[in-house]
């Protein structure tokens, strides 16, 4: 069997395989794609997007990696420092992405957008992806924060949706006196409190001051509106459940859904998730939403809403910038947007991607609310420089428990912002 002929034949076969490998590889482009959705159906949907793209572009292979939310924040920082940065990856616009832009880790895609691609997007949803005049990413889903309330509990206690912050506090007091937990709040991971603060800062601080402050090079946070925002938040703390810092947002949310509280503060993107997870509930029948009421006389803008879009960016170190941007365009485009709305309930940033009736009323109306908003304001955690947020989140948890005063919190904010400013200048 092992005669010369057979061995030569085998050798030829082996050599053919060995040499054809690199030739094939030259034709196929491999793109690494990293996102932060590990749960069904969101992760399956992105997997499907990758497979569809591969079918339409046979020379491209997309390697999809999904890492869940909190670890993603840590891992992406590490991997961007190596040569193996993913070509296309998820990122939160604002300071979270800006720090990578400052280190030349994110590709400037302005020139690609010039051919009219830019005009496909709703301007307010694309806006957050700009940094110093250039565009660095594209939105995958829009988002905003609202109070969702239990209609039955509101009706039982004769409660109307509050129009002002004072009315809101009256409602909370009334509910508390009736023996109901007014607001279900889980702040173990303190991004939850940053959503309250983001909205209250937008209401209490003039936008030009805010924009200057969230730039780490110029941030001073001396405006009295910040203290006012912390005070407004402090007024809510008697109406939360016990120990908000000891429970997670998910626990607080299910407590609310089970009738354990009158309200909770959620992202509109959580609505489709709730509808899927809790088939026992009729969301539209049982619940409704309202924007956080505006504190009368505050110096900010009552038409601003906390809630930033999320999206994808391209690595500045990618071997295939053109191909990566092409995939980004597909991923955040109209065709995928329509499918995305159907399968995940997320609405991306393209104009006219859903009409009434395409998605459930709750999802449609909340997306309309985002579109009608004058300006979207970033979550306070992703708006701030990492060192500033690291210090502030500790203080905000203390404020939630009554261990710190609004003035003390503002003091820490001013001090750490000053340290960072000094380091950067």
């Amino acid at each position: 069997m092992f005669n010369k002929k057979n061995i030569i034949f085998l050798l030829v076969v082996v050599l053919m395989v060995l040499f054809s490998g690199p030739i094939l590889a030259q034709d196929t482009i491999e793109l690494d794609f990293m996102h932060r959705w590990t749960r069904s159906p969101d992760n399956e949907f992105l997997e499907e997007v990758a497979r569809r793209y591969e079918e339409e572009n046979p020379n491209v292979k997309i390697n999809v990696t999904a890492i869940s939310n909190d670890p993603f924040k840590e891992k992406i920082k590490i991997i961007l420092g190596t040569d193996d940065a993913p070509d296309v990856f998820f990122s939160w616009p604002g300071e979270f992405t800006n720090r990578f832009i400052r280190e030349d880790r994110v590709l400037d895609i302005t020139q690609y957008m010039e051919d009219g691609w830019k005009d496909d997007f709703i301007p307010s949803i694309l806006e957050p992806f700009k940094y110093e005049g250039s565009i660095y990413g594209a939105p995958y889903r829009m988002d905003a924060k609202v109070f969702v309330y239990n209609k039955e509990i509101f009706a039982e206690n004769n409660i109307e949706i509050p129009e002002t912050y004072d009315e809101f506090l009256t409602v909370l007091e009334k509910l508390k006196n009736a023996g109901v937990t007014p607001i279900s709040f889980g702040n173990q991971a303190p991004w939850a409190v940053s959503h309250y603060i983001g909205q209250l800062v937008a209401y209490n601080v003039p936008n030009d001051v805010y924009e200057k402050d969230i730039r780490p090079e110029t941030g001073s946070f001396e405006h009295p509106g910040y203290v006012k925002a912390f005070e407004d938040f402090e007024k809510l703390t008697p109406y939360f459940n016990n120990n908000p810092n000891a429970i997670t947002h998910a626990q607080a949310r299910s407590n609310f859904l089970n009738g354990g509280a009158a309200m909770t503060y959620i992202e509109i993107n959580e609505i489709p998730e709730i509808m899927r997870d809790r088939e026992d509930l009729d969301f539209e029948e049982s619940f409704n939403t309202f924007k956080m009421p505006f504190p009368e006389g505050a110096e900010g803008n009552p038409n601003y809403l906390v809630g930033f879009p999320e999206g994808f960016v391209v690595s500045a170190n990618t071997e295939y910038p053109d191909e990566s941007v092409k995939f980004l365009k597909y991923l955040t485009g109209k065709e995928i947007g329509k499918l995305e709305a159907q399968k995940t309930g997320f609405i991306n940033g393209i104009k006219g991607v859903v009409d009434k009736g395409d998605v459930t009323d709750a999802i449609y109306s909340s997306s309309q609310m985002v579109l009608e908003t004058e300006k979207l304001v970033n979550w306070f955690d992703s708006a701030l420089h990492s060192e500033v947020w690291a210090a502030l989140r500790v203080e905000l948890q203390k404020l939630t428990d009554g261990y710190a005063t609004p003035e003390e919190v503002a003091e820490v904010l001013r001090e750490t912002a000053a340290d960072v400013r000094e380091d950067l200048n």
Binding site: E74, G81, E103, N242, N243, N245, A246, I247, Q397, K398
Partner: protein, 291 residues
Amino acid sequence: MKHKKFTPWLFLLPAIIFIGVFVYTPIIQNFYYSFFRMNSYSQKSIFLGLENYIDIFTDDVFYTAIVNNVWYAVISLIFQVGLGLVVAIIVESKFLGKKSKVFFRTIYFLPSVIAISAVGLAFYFVYNPSLGLLNSIIEIFVDGNYEFAWLGNPKTAIFAVIAMSQWQWTGYVAMLLIVAIQRIPHELYESAEIDGASFFQRAIHITIPLIREMILVTSVITVIGSFKLFAEVFVTTRGGPYGTSHVLGTYMYETAFFHDKMGYAAAIAVIIFVITFILSILQIRLGSRSD
């Protein structure tokens, strides 16, 4: 026959290269990085000299972390070594039959083989303020709802984590001591019994002196473990609330990956290294004396 001289070196070489690349190089690099301001995703790094160290020694959280490590060490010595010793003596005593000895050994040892993430998750539920096992037990004795956030209260968080570790490791240390006790010759106990020594006297005058070395070694291991602590805190409180349950390990992690201060984290790592290095030398000395 000159080549024979190099033969042992040849066999040692792979291990030396392996340890050199994966252990010693990172340690040296870590010392170097601790003098810079840098983060993981940047090519730029700024030389600071000793500034990171100066900052650390004026950082309140750093002191909180050190104090927590010391608490962990002290409580672990009392429970794991102290209580573990009592458990070992009783389990090895004549009061128990052969079968019950095996039974108790297994029962006490079992927690130490469970992965820390599973233990952390289990205790996270035990300590849960509204549904947790611990509060439910307390509710039997007090009227009405008892909702205490063991992991969410700055006064109790670190102690709740330490308590979890005692549950997990006391049996393990007891096991090490049991092995030492089993090596004591039976004749000593027999003659002591003939002399009329009580159980308590036998424990004090025979068992403890004869396993002194093992007690010392387990003590040092326990203390070193207390300063290398990371997972126990990370899977339960992540240093919260407000940084009060941080230990050096978790604070290092937090400064590296949340504050984006890699140089600062490296400096904390150097401090952890120095502490554990000194303790390790102590351990090696004690270990060599026992032979």
